[in-house]
Point group: C2
């Protein structure tokens, strides 16, 4: 008998049939004796419909009023799901974020949760009720409605699980778990039974967009057991858990291969090797609202150096324009770029204790004749930039070299409750 927080996103509650399906699923957990708090998003399409209404009235809608408007999306879903559960003789009460005292700061449309009062939810659970809470929203200290920004429903679920000290926070999605890599690229891609928060963060930020990064960070910080599951299929999903020694010891060296096609790189050559150069290059870039991903600067040669960074491909042309003026101002020799690159990364907490992992990666790529343009590493990740055309080949080669298609030797003791 566990306390579960279950989150269903917009697609999972996309129409009345789906909502009925979610009600069936929740009722099964209740019938097994679990206490359940359900967090739901707006029905898919609803947020866009409301946003369009707003932008027809104000090009830049007042953020405070945008939150009043958008928060109605989840409010419709909680009412309908509560009705569906009541219809199944499963006593249920629905609440907006504000009603269960999800207190946030005042940053409308991108608020951060500061505090949650669980008294009301606990009272309902104690009386055998299912509690349905609107994701993505809260209220500030003065009672104004706030929203957490897109994808905030994951964060709501994790925050509620932390506040309620739930046994598990289950995120229902349209995939049945986290994979060693994208199954559309590698046929042998395998669902992971478990993964650490850190690995998940590296995987998520690199394009395996199963969960909102913010929710994973939150779960790691408050040690909430997070599980990714399919909303319409049965299965244990993937457990995202704390990085303790046991997990690390048992982990395979590499857990997954992440990749990202949407990158472009820019290199400024012959930059004077003096302090403050990096900020004089990246300052104007970030001022232009361009987000930078990888940054690489090699050792200086002849008192000048080369400075490379990557950006989203949509920002490539604008980045080149910024670089033209930066190059002139700094007295750098020249700049050039490439809009047809891709990033491939191997991720795994096991790397920490295993030397030579990067070498095996580079050898595998070399064996396929793939040239590495940039390398960047962290404790649990090695990323390389290669020409985009080699992406699939590289991912398949690495997936095979690190034997990700084989089940790990240890028998998994992690099962969905």
């Amino acid at each position: 008998m566990a306390l579960l927080v279950q989150k269903f996103g917009g697609t999972s509650v996309g129409d009345l049939d789906r909502i009925q399906g979610v009600a069936d699923k929740v009722k099964r957990f209740r019938d097994q004796g679990h206490d359940v708090v359900v967090v739901v998003s707006a029905m898919s399409g609803e947020t866009n419909r409301l946003t369009e209404l707003a932008t027809n009235i104000q090009k830049q809608p007042t953020p405070r009023e945008m939150d009043v408007l958008l928060s109605t999306g989840e409010q419709v879903t909680i009412a309908l799901l509560a009705m569906a559960l009541n219809e199944r003789d499963c006593p249920t009460r629905s609440y907006t974020g504000g009603q269960v005292s999800i207190i946030t700061d005042q940053a409308h449309t991108k608020a951060r949760i500061q505090q949650i009062d669980t008294e009301r939810m606990r009272a309902d659970l104690d009386q055998g009720r299912v509690v349905v809470v609107a994701g993505f929203q809260g209220r500030d200290a003065e009672g104004n409605i706030t929203t957490l920004g897109r994808g905030g429903s994951d964060t709501t679920a994790v925050a509620l699980a932390a506040a309620l000290e739930a046994d598990e926070c289950q995120i229902y999605t349209d995939v049945d778990g986290v994979y060693t890599t994208d199954p559309r690229v590698v046929e042998g891609a395998r669902r992971l039974d478990k993964i650490t928060f850190e690995e998940m963060l590296e995987m998520a930020s690199l394009g395996s967009k199963v969960l909102q990064i913010r929710a994973v960070e939150f779960a790691g910080k408050y040690n909430v057991k997070l599980r990714v599951l399919h909303s319409m299929q049965e299965g244990p999903g993937t457990l995202i858990t704390i990085d303790d020694e046991d997990v690390a010891m048992e982990s395979p060296v590499v857990s997954g291969i992440a990749f990202n096609r949407d990158e472009a790189k820019v290199t400024i050559k012959g930059v004077p090797d003096i302090p403050g150069v990096a900020s004089r290059i990246l300052g104007p870039v970030s001022k232009a609202n361009i987000e930078v991903d990888m940054i690489v600067q090699n050792v200086a040669d002849d008192r000048t150096t080369d400075f490379t960074f990557t950006v989203h491909r949509n920002d490539y042309q604008r980045t080149l324009e910024v670089c033209a003026s930066v190059c002139e101002e700094l007295g750098a020799r020249e700049y050039d770029g490439d809009g047809k690159i891709a990033k491939v990364s191997i991720v795994g907490v096991g790397m920490r204790s295993h030397a030579g992992v990067a070498t095996r990666m580079f050898e595998a790529l070399a064996a396929e004749g793939i040239n590495i343009q940039i390398i960047s590493t962290s404790e649990i990740k090695v990323s390389v930039i290669i020409a985009e055309k080699y992406l699939e080949l590289a991912v398949r080669a690495l997936h095979s070299v690190f034997e990700l298609d084989r089940e790990p030797v240890e028998s998994s003791d992690v099962k969905a409750v």
Copy 2:
């Protein structure tokens, strides 16, 4: 410089253009220096859309959840109207019913307002903001969302006006005021500059459905000046005001002619004239959820009496069925009915001090050869039941006899602010 509460119904905010129009209107009042609190309904069609979603999930939706669902309708409107006003450099904040502490009882879907805390609205008004409040909704003492039932937005507006001690509560509708009778029946029907609450109540309940009766009662009780205006035309509308001596003295004898086509009458003949008979007849009728309008019992004759009442025409057949068994049980002689009748009433506080008003009415009808089937009177109203086919003729005759097509002699000092 007045404090105005302005209410715009579902049709007045039916689409984005209409909402822009409402914003223009509100801004004009602001620019004149008035403080404005706006109450809005859900965009027309929205409540039906949401209700359909609910009934597809639950035949009898849980009332508490129905309120969570339906209250989103007005919440969308307040946000959009606040955006439109902000876009016009008219600083505005929107609030749900719960946010401005419209506290109701716990009767979900038909809650009654118990208390309103005006502190928050006053603070906004003091800072020069327009306050936009969602009509039709509130919250109970525990913070659950409640709704006031259909048409509740009028009640919200009046209640806010009472709590804020507003100078006027303006109800914007699709008519430009209250008329002496239906202009579709009588060409000379004239807009009234003012009318008393009591007259308005009699007019409204008799079919001139400009305002919710409940809102008029509320306004009368708390002495809120109520004005009915057209949402898309300019004009002073009709002021509904307290029935003090001055108003009554200046009032014409009859203020308006109300009528209702949807009536049917049933007569039980030869009922034993003993105590308790009325309740033994009407008990089974109300138990069958049939609402009774007029009730007439004449003096007994030969220890039996005739008992007549009217019902909505939709309930006529069911009423006859109830009467069959009642008739047998009471040992009454027989029963019959007529489904093709209409009710015509003259309404006016002036009647109180003028004898012979009823006689003038009866003479006017006799002059047109119209037979009166039933008569019922109150302090400020005389109603008759006639054959439906004479309805238009009767209304025109009475409108003319009581000179309602002429402007009253007194010059009106009541103007829209």
